[in-house]
Amino acid sequence: MKAQKNRSIHRVGTVACAALVLGLAACAPGGGGSGATTSTAPSDVSTDVAAAGDVTLKLSDFWKSAEGEWIDNRIAAFEDLYPNVTIKRTQEEWTQLVSTLNLQLQDASGPDIASANNGWQSLGTLAEANLVLNLDPYAELYGWNESVPNTIARQNQFTTDFSAIGEGSWFATPVARATLTGLYYNVEKLEALGLDVPTTLPELETAAAAAAAAGEVPFSYSGLDGNTAMLFSLQAVFGTATDINDFIYGDPEVTAAQSKLTEAAATMVTWADNGWLSPDFEGLDSQTTLASFLDGDGVFRFDYTGTLGLTGDQLDEFGYIQLPQESGSGTVGVGAAPAAMVIASKTEHPDVAAAFLDFLMSEESAQAAIDLGMVPMLHNDLDTPSTGRSLNEEIAAAASLNADDGYVPYFDWSSPTMLDTVSQNLQLMLAGRVAPEDLTAAVDADRDAFLAQLGS
């Protein structure tokens, strides 16, 4: 009796499962509506914010501390300018925001404006899914193609068939602030060692050798989390801006070797072999080495601007160098706006949202960044602070990158898996398990696999 009942329940279950599976097989995931992925660009655009009447916009971003103060300051200034506009801001954790933005932008009560991440994973997928607006009409209206340096503009562009990044239509805008990757140095340590601030890579290596001879740790470095700031900073010294940009934006004609990744990797191996990196770096994470660098352990450290979180006296205790090209012509550096600002496709007030994005790129917003101790972008000839060595040197570095149009994007924008590939191969290489050429080959293989997938 019992067995029979069980069997009949099983049969019902099997039939139900089969029905479900058959039903599901009919519709592919993501196929909620039309299969076509044409991007939406507003047709009737205007700069007239005051005419829009009472408007409330929702903004989701990940900015905290000084960055949070900057956006709050910008919102207040915009609301002063246009009393009919209210911007409600929601601050979220970076990883949380990036991983849920696709859902938030589909939600009717979700944000009108949000800070996405550049690259394929975040901005690319959002644009392709038609969740964010094509901003070309606004780029024309506000003249962004002329006012934004090409190397920065490309970071926010995709072709409308989503076969390429770094060209095509605007799907996001930068803001008038930059995050750069470069070399920090401990002012006191250099003075104690009797060394001048190095201005080129050979001078840096001479200083590192002298520091090592004096028993100091030349480079603060962590290997446990596969820190990539040093590798990509060195790549920007060896490779040209064109080659690095073209590689990252998926030009199949340019290989990783041409973007001088091998030279950068080999330099790191030499430095590691010389014992110039933090002792036991394999077992140290970024947070630990950063804390000890700020406590005076290490003379130099490659890092992202803002990561050190320098305040008060520390602003004069550390300095910043954007190493010039090894070839001697100009400066190239990894740099981008700290986010890609997007407008949700479902927003009812795209004109007001676009006006706010334009406002975030204004000279006034760049000045506000400096006033809050951050690196400005898009504008030169701003009022610089009278004190604060590191901030002044960071501002000067951004100015030289602006002047040389020398920005290169983050390397991991080249494919969704690139950051993993580079981190893993860096660890393998510094453990002596693979050669610099193998790292370059793995990077090529990763990008080529992704490009093939795009093409299919």
Binding site: G30, L284, D285, D420, Q424
Partner: protein, 314 residues
């Protein structure tokens, strides 16, 4: 998901022998209908929250999809075949085998030993020991991972202790070492599951009839013979629970690795759960993530079923 599957299988095993009930009378049928009616809201929630996502995962696993885009491509079994063709993904299964030794085999062996010793000696303060060893079960795994990350640091307590003992040759960057990172993580698992196994076994031993021990002693059995002939057979049920839970814990290892090494150095400590997370949330490839999830769930289910079958065999 995999956990739910395992627990369901366990619960199924535990209630495999309900007292026989008459099911034919009209009154009984009515009772059953009322029972179903009462269970309906719960079943509905279970269907929406567990079964539907399960079916969706299986569906996604046959596609290449970034999780956002409106278009997805049918790729058949490719996401599953990657377990054989992608060396990084197949290595994650090898890493799980190593973790199994540390999460399951060692804690169960030690737990049995500890249970035998503690119940035999009946020394005072046994409760304190039990409490201390059970503590890791109560702690959040994030806390445990952070504590051990510090312990394994180059200048951390583990290396400091080795140096103090004059064993400088044994010091290393535990979490940054290609050979030692995985066993170092495994030992954390041993530390976590050992107390659980021990407490489970002690409670099991106390349920074994004392007459059996007396009989064994009368027959002249020593402590070792007594252990293998009375204690271990008497703990069959507890062993099944311990094996199922520790094995699935090893298969699902995520938080320990994510917080300490993120799968590094290289890919030396990458587990299927880490690969799943990366595929689902970091490098959007939802189809691959779903395939990994399905494989993990199936493995957990198979293990749970096999263990319950064996433990119930007379």
């Amino acid at each position: 998901m995999s956990n739910a599957a395992a627990t369901a299988a366990l619960a199924d095993g535990a209630t495999a022998h309900p007292s026989a009930r008459a099911g034919g009378s009209p009154a009984a049928r009515r009772r059953r209908r009322i029972g179903l009616l009462l269970a309906a809201p719960g079943l509905a929630v279970y269907a929406v929250v567990v079964l539907w996502p399960l079916v969706q995962s299986i569906q996604y696993s046959f596609y290449s999809w970034n999780g956002t885009s409106a278009s997805s491509t049918w790729v058949g079994l490719r996401n599953y075949l990657n377990f054989f063709t992608d060396p990084v993904l197949s290595a994650t299964l090898g890493h799980v085998l190593v973790l199994l030794i540390f999460f399951s085999a060692i804690p169960i062996a030690l737990g049995l030993l500890a249970a035998a010793v503690i119940t035999r000696s009946r020394s005072r303060g046994g409760a304190v020991f039990r409490w201390i060893y059970f503590l890791p079960q109560v702690l959040t795994s994030v806390v445990i991972a952070l504590v051990f990350k510090r312990m394994y640091a180059p200048e951390g307590p583990v290396n400091e202790t080795l140096r103090a003992l004059g064993l400088d040759a044994l010091t290393r960057n535990w979490l940054g070492d290609f050979t030692w990172a995985l066993p170092a993580l495994g030992l954390i698992g041993t530390w976590i599951t050992f107390g659980f196994c021990m407490v489970l076994f002690i409670s099991g031993v106390s349920a074994i009839s004392p007459e059996l021990y007396e009989a064994a002693r009368v027959d002249g059995a020593g402590p070792v013979r007594e252990f293998f002939s009375v204690t271990v057979p008497g703990l069959r049920g507890q062993l099944a629970v311990a094996i199922t839970l520790t094995v699935t814990a090893a298969l699902r290892t995520f938080d320990l690795v994510w917080i300490t090494t993120r799968g590094g150095p290289g890919t030396a400590t990458q587990t299927p759960a880490i690969a799943l997370y990366k595929a689902a949330f970091v490098n959007p490839d939802v189809g691959q993530a779903a395939a990994i999830g399905v494989v993990m769930a199936v493995l957990c289910l198979v293990i749970a079923v096999v263990v319950t079958r064996i433990s119930e065999r007379e």
